[in-house]
């Protein structure tokens, strides 16, 4: 190796200096539902942020604990001025946008935006036909919208099939649809991690898990009712974040009102069943029943790793003005010239072992930052060291830089 010092600030990354790694993370998710309330990971969200209900995650965590009354003006809210581009909020329908606002009007939204699971006990198709076009009425579209996805996964299990001679037609079944937003699980739900638990007065009466990792939810615990252990009671759409429970048979002798009143008349009590799992509509909130959903998500974090080498005889000079002695500032300037002094002395910062004695000069720099430049030498990133690193001609360092992408 040449001992001749090499000057220059820019070095090109070699092929093996840049790597992209992917970290696969598996966040655990638990929902617990009791008396019309859902709790996420056993946290009391609304205690720390009164504007976020329990069981919800807040996007951006805006409006933490702020006075919820808009009249008091403490809430952050978004707004957009109506122009011709048609930009608005998802809560404003097209007809509202056209007829309720003039050009120049402010269209406002509200924060925080939160997400939580939803449990929709859809029932049978014949029940859907009685629903009007209200928000409840839109539930009749839920299952048909999932038909293609369900049929696609029949390669995993025949129980996915929307309509089959073997497992019947979903339209004829009491279907309980649990929707889990992806903010909770990331890219997909990890196969084999979904477990539903049904408690009555705190006692586990039924448990269903995807123990075969093929999407089938198999009744694994509970022999009190008519559902036998080992039978398939539902399926999981891992990528889409849906759990479909297709069994309305009893899993325990316990009976309770799981539905709200119809035309003011309270319904009859029904057995604990997977169709009643997560029911939150009854007047009393089905106080004896509680439900738990356990799953593990999958999220990917791509990381760019770069190795920046500061080899021997390199990076031993600094452009920092303090690198030179003050005597070096012998600059002669004029209207057409700028001339630096020929003898520019570099500060000798080598520490001597002896008092009243100067150590021999040795080019020494202290590296504080590593800059990453693009091919046009635009600075696009800076890595700062925790403390300056001394670099002498004989030293050789490699800095490992990591960037989450």
């Amino acid at each position: 190796m040449s001992l001749k010092p090499q000057y220059g600030n820019f070095f090109q990354f070699e092929e093996n200096d840049v790597l992209v790694n992917r970290i696969e993370a598996h966040p655990k998710v638990e929902f617990f539902i009791h008396k019309n309330n859902a709790y996420y990971n056993n946290e009391n969200n609304s205690a720390s942020n009164s504007n976020v209900p329990n069981g919800h995650l807040s996007l951006y965590d805006y409006n933490v604990n702020r006075d919820p009354d808009p009249a008091n003006g403490q809430l952050i809210y978004p707004f957009v001025t109506k122009i011709g581009a048609g930009t608005s909020f998802g809560t404003v329908t097209t007809s509202n946008y056209i007829f309720d606002f003039d050009v120049g009007d402010q269209i406002t939204g509200s924060y925080p935006m939160t997400a939580s699971i939803s449990v929709d006990r859809l029932g049978r198709q014949q029940d859907w036909s009685t629903l009007t076009a209200s928000s409840d009425g839109k539930k009749r579209y839920y299952l048909p919208a999932l038909k293609n996805h369900l049929d696609f996964y029949t390669k995993l299990s025949p129980h996915y099939e929307y309509s089959s001679s073997e497992h019947g037609d979903l339209n004829d079944k009491y279907v309980n649809l649990i929707s889990i937003p992806s903010i909770f699980y990331g890219s997909e739900i990890k196969k084999g991690t979904v477990t539903l638990k049904y408690f009555v007065s705190g006692t586990l009466v039924g448990e269903a898990s995807d123990i075969n990792k093929n999407g089938e939810l198999i009744h694994t615990t509970g022999s009190e009712g008519s559902v036998t252990t080992g039978s398939v009671v539902g399926v999981v759409l891992y990528n889409e974040g849906f759990v479909l429970l297709k069994s309305s048979d009893s899993i325990a002798t316990h009976t309770e009102r799981y539905d709200g009143p119809t035309d003011g008349v309270e319904p009859n009590e029904t057995n604990a069943s997977w169709f009643n799992f997560g029911a939150t509509g009854s007047t009393a909130g089905a106080p004896s029943s509680s439900f738990a959903i356990h799953l593990t998500g999958t999220s990917y974090i791509d990381t760019l790793t770069m190795f920046a080498h500061a080899g021997e005889n390199k990076l031993n000079f600094s452009n920092n003005p303090t690198y030179l002695t003050s005597a070096a500032k012998q600059v002669v300037t004029g209207t057409d010239h700028y001339v630096e002094g020929a003898d520019i002395a570099i500060k000798n910062i080598v520490s001597s072992s002896y008092a009243e004695h100067s150590a021999s000069f040795e080019p020494t720099t202290y590296i504080t930052k590593v800059g990453i430049y693009d091919q046009d030498k635009n600075l696009i990133a800076i890595a700062s060291l925790a403390k300056p690193m001394r670099k002498r001609e004989k030293d050789s360092y490699t800095f490992k830089l990591k960037l989450d992408i």
Partner: protein, 388 residues
């Protein structure tokens, strides 16, 4: 003739920019520290600024909302060093205050032709000698989470108490001089703003009526940087109080006296409390100055701006186009399933618009909310918007 690809012409593509705003209120209860017993205020061992969060900062729910600092110009630094040598002043963190000023000034104001850092200039006129030069400044750096792309012009308002000691302000005596308030704002920015190395900036006035006169400006707001620079003179114009016209109360009680007077400035609590902002920014720490400001903060509001850039593609479908589908379900037994007899018109239902590159690579799909019927009697224009 049935076709699948149709070239978008110049008239079919238009780019637009929509500005989305958020209204950001920052109330005094958050800033003064009273709501969470100062758990949302983060200080640092270097003592060069303090950070305010909207919730106790150790919580994952907390959002950083702004940093507050104080700094003064080199000339003030030199004068104080001279006074210190002469024994006529006891400056504290003098060098750090100079560094803070220089750091903000070189980024926000840049350098003059001699290579010197420019002063902050309250009247917006840079090369007019010392006129309007701000040498002692409070700095508010709002977080990017709140500012987003930039602060909306003529939306910044900061209501505060220009006079009175902290304990009297907290006592809330009705009618006392301490109850006098002023509202800072970038009132003139709708008509006039300036350009700096950090983007647009405008002047801040204590009242809308003053906005015609740049000499009455007390600060600057840098819209893209999200930084507000306020002259310490904003606290000098308060009404006389029992403790003096300039009382700033930087070592008065903020919750409890012990935690409020964090720096021994060589004066008794009451005497220091009675001293004005000038004494605080000389003899007090940067955190003392920030505390004094925060406790005079009543409310702050501004709107931020998020630029949404969109390209709109008008997919125009003529009557004789897209009336046939290549979908396998379109045909059954060599017959179109949508035709009952030979004279029926062909019908399709459009569900998706694909945007392709010149090499016919599918780049994007636009889905319609429900299938749209298309037959030879109809023409459609589907408006596809791509946000980025």
């Amino acid at each position: 003739m049935a076709s699948t690809f149709k070239t978008l012409l110049n008239d079919d593509v238009v780019s637009t920019r929509t500005l989305l705003h958020e209204a950001i209120p920052i109330t005094g209860t958050i800033v003064s520290g009273s709501t969470y017993n100062k758990a949302q205020l983060k200080t640092y061992t270097h003592g060069m600024f303090e950070s305010t969060f909207d919730y106790p900062y150790l919580s994952s729910s907390a959002n950083h909302i702004f940093d507050m600092s104080y700094g003064h110009h080199e000339s003030v630094y030199s004068a104080l060093e001279t006074a210190k040598t002469a024994g006529t002043a006891t400056p504290y963190q003098n060098q750090k205050k100079r560094d803070i000023y220089n750091q903000f000034a070189q980024v926000l104001m840049g350098y003059d032709e001699t290579g010197s850092i420019r002063h902050f200039d309250s009247d917006g006129t840079l090369d007019d000698g010392d006129t309007g030069k701000m040498t002692e400044c409070f700095f508010l750096s709002f977080s990017r989470l709140l500012v987003k792309d930039e602060i909306k012009k003529n939306s910044f308002r900061l209501q505060y108490r220009p006079s009175g000691t902290v304990d009297l302000i907290h006592a809330g005596a009705a009618g006392a001089p301490e109850s006098t308030t002023a509202t800072l704002g970038d009132y003139a920015s709708a008509n006039e703003y300036y350009t700096s190395p950090a983007g647009d900036y405008s002047l801040i006035f204590t009242a809308s009526a003053d906005s015609d006169d740049p000499t009455k400006s007390v600060g600057l707001i840098f819209y893209q940087a999200g930084v507000v620079v306020l002259s310490s003179s904003m606290f000098s114009g308060g009404e006389a109080t029992a403790l003096g016209a300039l009382s700033f109360g930087y070592s008065g009680s903020e919750g409890d006296a012990a935690s409020w007077g964090e720096v021994d400035v060589g004066a008794g609590a009451l005497a220091a409390k009675a001293d004005g902002v000038q004494h605080c920014i000389v003899s007090g720490s940067i955190e003392n100055a920030a505390q004094g400001f925060r406790n005079r903060w009543i409310d702050c509001d501004f709107n931020n701006t998020i630029e949404l850039n969109s390209t709109i593609y008008f997919a125009r479908i003529n009557h004789n186009e897209f009336n046939y589908s290549a979908n396998p379900t379109y045909v059954s037994g060599s017959k179109l399933v949508v035709k009952n007899n030979v004279n029926d018109l062909p019908i399709t239902y459009i569900t998706t618009v694909g945007l392709y590159s010149p090499d016919n690579e599918l780049l994007a799909c636009a889905k319609v909310s429900e299938p749209i019927r298309k037959d030879p009697n109809t023409e459609l224009t589907l408006r596809v918007r791509l946000d980025y």
